[in-house]
């Protein structure tokens, strides 16, 4: 180990060496701090799928990937038809979305960003309620407490300190709760990313940070965000482990996240997980991705699409029977049909709602404005 500071010399009068306040006790944490620079894989390797319950896990992940892909396609189509204001698709990133949702226990909390609608649905949220923000009938279409899912966060990385605070609060209360917070590669440049990781490490809060590194922040490639060897390496400076994983390898993402969740639950503190992935669609329906990336690059990533990747692995190991495939397909079509039916119906809107929740009780000013709006509406 490199010694950063020379040991202080004992005082000639007291014989005692001063203890510099900046010196901290040596870490007893066995987790290696320097992340592997090669992403962790499970699929496409020679490793056998696991025995026992984990064998079922691969099939569960697969079923969710099939549903997730269909969800993304249907939401994108509904956006083209004007039923959603915007949809930041996670097509190509479904392995991260699904693993993040499935790895959590019921009492845990998920902190998604705008791209992570699918993760909320995989955690059990109503697929249409999950789209409230993007449909535009309210900022959040669900009560965060029912599935312990924070509102989708739009200002980048601002949800990360919330996850830390919530996890810290739960620990103060003695509750067994882990928070998993999702952020993109671009979001890691924000100050809130730094502050959240620092607080989490200092407090040893039970938090897992999942960075979906899809190589771009809208149009800006990762090389313009950071000069770090990997984003996972950033963990080192905070005193927490960082893990790099193939983000399109669903079982691998699940395993790495599960390790991190276990560690947090056992009091081991936070982990930073960087999942390497790629968004196959444009940033949103409003984006033109051809302005900043080559078709060849997209084509190459299509070869590493999380869905066929897992399908192939299941087939190779004889785990994909016709029954499973059909059931997954049917469930996906049912999901899509339900989305179409419900999102094609006109949303119920009440302008009174605009004033109802700003404060616990509307101020006299808001009561007055609400009354005026009602009058305006009546006069029209």
């Amino acid at each position: 180990m490199t010694v950063l500071h020379e040991p202080p010399t004992p005082s000639p009068t007291t014989g005692q060496a001063p203890v510099p306040p900046w010196r901290r006790p040596p870490r007893t944490d066995p987790a290696p701090l320097l992340p592997e620079t090669e992403p962790y894989h499970r699929l496409g390797t020679d490793r056998e799928p696991p025995e026992g319950p984990d064998r079922a896990l691969w099939r569960t992940l697969h079923r969710h990937l099939v549903l997730g892909r269909r969800y993304n396609q249907q939401a994108t189509a509904l956006t083209r038809q004007g039923r959603l204001a915007v949809y930041p698709s996670s097509t190509g990133q479904e392995a991260c979305q699904i693993a993040a949702a499935l790895v959590l226990a019921e009492q845990d909390w998920l902190f998604p960003s705008y791209r992570d609608t699918l993760a909320t649905v995989a955690r059990g949220l109503d697929p249409v309620a999950a789209l409230g923000l993007l449909r535009g009938d309210w900022h959040t279409g669900y009560d965060p407490h029912t599935h312990r899912i924070a509102p989708l966060a739009t200002p980048l990385a601002t949800q990360l300190p919330h996850a830390v605070g919530l996890a810290h609060a739960a620990r103060l209360k003695g509750d067994d709760v882990v928070a998993l917070a999702m952020v993109g590669d671009g979001g890691t440049s924000e100050g809130d990313f730094h502050e959240a990781l620092n607080f989490a490490a200092v407090w040893q809060a039970p938090v897992v940070f999942l960075v979906q590194n899809n190589g771009f922040a809208i149009s800006v490639p990762l090389a313009r965000q950071t000069a770090a060897p990997t984003i996972a390496h950033k963990a080192v400076g905070y005193g927490m482990p960082g893990r790099l994983v193939d983000g399109n390898d669903a079982p691998a993402v699940y395993e790495v996240l599960a390790d991190a969740v276990r560690r947090a639950r056992a009091g081991g503190g936070p982990t930073l997980v960087e999942a390497l992935t790629y968004r196959l669609d444009a940033h949103t329906n409003a984006d033109d991705a051809t302005r900043y990336r080559e078709d060849a690059e997209v084509a190459a990533w299509r070869e590493h699409d999380p869905l066929p990747l897992l399908t192939g692995a299941l087939e190779r190991h004889g785990l994909l029977d016709e029954d499973h495939a059909r059931q997954a397909r049917d469930a996906a079509e049912e999901l899509a049909a339900g989305m179409r039916a419900r999102l094609n119906a006109e949303p119920v809107l009440d302008p009174d709602d605009l004033f109802a929740h700003v404060y616990a009780r509307p101020t006299p000013q808001l009561t007055e404005q609400a009354a005026r709006l009602r009058q305006e509406a009546a006069a029209r």
Binding site: H139, P151, P155, A163, V164, H168, A179, E195, H357, A360
Partner: protein
């Protein structure tokens, strides 16, 4: 309330007592801030609280205001009632995004499912000879953000009473502490603090018949002094202490202005797009036919807060207030 145990208490001590009583009564109250633990805060408002309630209830955090408010937001999401201390007005700015984008909106965003019962204490204002970044009056930023309550005490009784109410509120409260009044004193019984009117209510500190001075926080003693001085010039000035900038107490302010027909708004913050602009507009909209003169403002200049040796040229003083009163078209 009068009591045999009444004694001289500073505004700082009243704030400390409010925090102490809140911590003692409600286990969900948690204090977070920089140097608020062992040191007791740079203004000593939390002195002794970490010793009494432990380092988790009165916690020294890493030095990062966005992180403090961001994590406090998460704690509030889990049902705690965090009370955050920002060390100085200008050092609250890093937390602005969390305040505006999340704290102020979380209740609305979630249709009331996720209220934000948190209090953000900010020592503010000048007059203490502070170097740059230690004397800002930032209330207009907070007032312009729907979803926040903005509260500022000017008396010892209000320091205790309003802070207790702020902490008990299920809405986020930006609690602005006039740092130049920290050492001002009043005689109260700290064990039997007087009841004060609720958040959202202004108080007439001095009834008057000639004109009404409308003010808050650090400028209240100044306005009371100006009203005293004005007697010698034949004016009987009333003084309204707003106490709560949001929600704004139109009723009390308008009742006073309708009686006197003349009003001057006094604050340290810059005048342009400052609190006085809103107050003057509200009075004009509601009391136009009762006004004998335009509503005037005595405020700080529209400049970055000056260096300490020049701040007396910036801050409102009684002379400036009386000049404004003199311009209230008495002849017409």
């Amino acid at each position: 309330m009068t009591s045999t145990a009444a004694r001289s208490v500073s505004l700082a001590e009243a704030l400390r007592r409010a925090l102490r009583d809140a911590l003692a009564e409600d286990p969900t109250v948690h204090l977070l801030g920089e140097d608020i633990g062992t040191l007791g805060g740079v203004f000593r408002i939390t002195d002794g609280l970490a010793a009494e309630f432990g380092p988790e209830r009165c916690a020294d955090t890493p030095l990062a205001e966005a992180g403090i408010l961001g994590t406090a937001t998460g704690m509030a999401m889990y049902g705690l009632r965090p009370v955050v201390e920002m060390q100085f007005d200008a050092f609250a700015y890093p937390a602005f995004e969390q305040l505006v984008s999340h704290v102020a909106r979380m209740r609305n965003r979630t249709r009331g499912a996720m209220p934000m019962p948190l209090t953000i204490r900010i020592p503010y204002g000048g007059g203490i000879g502070g170097v740059e970044h230690h004397s800002d009056s930032s209330e207009a930023y907070y007032m312009a953000t729907p979803g926040l309550h903005v509260v500022t005490p000017a008396t010892v009784a209000d320091a205790y009473g309003l802070l207790r109410q702020a902490i008990a509120s299920d809405d986020p409260v930006v609690f602005l502490e006039p740092k130049r009044l920290y050492w001002s004193k009043d005689t109260v019984d700290p064990d039997a603090p007087p009841d004060v009117p609720p958040l959202g209510r202004a108080v007439v500190r001095r009834p008057g018949t000639s004109a009404t001075l409308i003010t808050y926080g650090p400028s209240l003693p100044l306005c009371l002094a100006a009203a005293e001085e004005a007697r010698g010039r034949g004016w009987d000035l009333g003084v309204v202490d707003l106490r709560t900038l949001v929600p704004f107490d139109d009723a009390t302010v308008c009742a006073e202005v309708r009686r006197t027909g003349r009003a001057v708004v006094v604050h340290e913050a810059a005048g342009f797009a400052g609190p006085g602009a809103e107050i003057a507009a509200r009075i004009t909209e509601r009391c136009f036919h009762h006004l004998a003169a335009p509503v005037l403002r005595v405020t700080g200049h529209d400049i970055p807060y000056p260096p300490p040796l020049l701040e007396r040229h910036h801050l409102p003083d009684t002379a400036r207030i009386l000049d404004a009163v003199a311009r209230l078209q008495w002849e017409e």
